[in-house]
């Protein structure tokens, strides 16, 4: 993101805080898919992800009138809020480590290869089975496309610690998804 983009985003937030409908619409168009994607991958639940996205924006609307440009990037702030809300829900579930969500076995059918949709489901399943911090690291870097510096700052860890989480997460995913490329 360039500094020009950052300025225009700050300007958008300021205008949204004053109730400017165009700025509000543009901000939602730009940010909602990212926040929804983050929440869906962290929670593996569409309804909960939508709740988190809605709550994230409610907080954004509260913060917008007093938003100070340059203090923090709005996108990073929004990610932080959404991640906190995701972790609140994950903590409430109290089951992530020992009891990942019940899902049907999405393994490949014996008589055919894997289609893109099958692969997508397999990946979603494998991501959901990762420990949350590894999942968070992979989601922030590979899906939200944040830099290592921004992602590690968001997670409150060093870049080296982030790298370690990424490596462990990717190693597990590679092992769990190995049949995908063997099936080709």
């Amino acid at each position: 993101m360039t500094s020009g983009d950052a300025e225009s985003e700050d300007d958008l937030v300021a205008r949204a805080g004053q109730g400017d409908a165009a700025a509000i619409g543009l901000l939602v168009t730009r940010k909602l898919p990212r926040i929804l994607s983050l929440a869906r991958r962290m929670l593996a639940d569409v309804a909960e992800a939508e709740d988190v996205a809605q709550e994230t924006f409610l907080r954004a609307w509260k913060a917008a009138p007093s938003w100070r440009p340059g203090k923090a990037k709005f996108d990073t702030w929004l990610h932080r809020v959404a991640l906190n809300l995701c972790y609140d829900r994950l903590r409430r579930r109290r089951r992530w480590a020992q009891d990942p969500p019940d899902r049907p076995d999405d393994g490949p059918a014996p008589d055919r290869g894997l289609h893109a949709q099958d692969i997508g489901r397999r990946v979603d399943h494998a991501l959901a089975a990762l420990p949350p911090r590894q999942r968070e690291a992979i989601v922030l870097i590979h899906y939200q496309e944040l830099t290592g510096a921004v992602a590690s700052d968001l997670m409150g860890i060093s870049v080296e610690a982030l790298e370690s989480l990424l490596a462990r997460g990717r190693r597990t995913l590679r092992a769990n998804l190995a049949d995908i490329w063997r099936a080709d």
Binding site: I24, A49, E50, Q54, F57, I119, G148, E163, L166, W181
Partner: protein, 138 residues
């Protein structure tokens, strides 16, 4: 950078060097230049997982959710918001009407000119009040 470090980085950050920490990108490119086949094999391996990750379902954006979020956004500030605007406008109108009526009354001589009131109430009354009111003023 040696091949072992390159492999560790490819495992963690994937095949796209742009994602790697900035300070490691140039040494990584040097290694690719020096050991093209080995480095490329490691990047190819990492790219398999990168591609698989990209196949993950994208969230379906609900228009209903978008509408809900927008409906909860701040409202623009109004010049005369709700009841305060109407109350203020009504108050201003009645003040203006009162002022016009008072000026009209003065110009028509319906009110006494305060400058003509003296320290002698009886003399003022005799001068300003109609003759029929004389009995009430002492």
């Amino acid at each position: 950078m040696d091949l072992e470090e390159f492999e560790a980085l490819a495992l963690a950050w994937g095949a796209d060097l742009a994602r790697w920490p900035a300070e490691r990108q140039a040494p990584a490119r040097d290694l690719i230049a020096a050991r093209a086949a080995d480095a490329q094999a490691l990047l190819d391996e990492a790219s398999l997982l990168d591609l698989a990750l990209r196949a993950s379902d994208l969230p379906i954006l609900s228009l209903d959710l978008r509408a809900k979020i927008i409906s909860a956004a701040p409202r623009p500030l109004e010049r005369f918001p709700s009841w305060r605007g109407w109350f203020g406008a009504a108050l201003a109108a009645s003040c203006a009407a009162g002022a016009v009526a008072a000026l009209l009354a003065i110009s028509l001589g319906l009110f006494p000119d305060r400058a003509s009131i003296t320290a002698d109430p009886a003399a003022d009354a005799a001068r300003l009040l109609p003759a029929s009111s004389d009995a009430t003023v002492g």
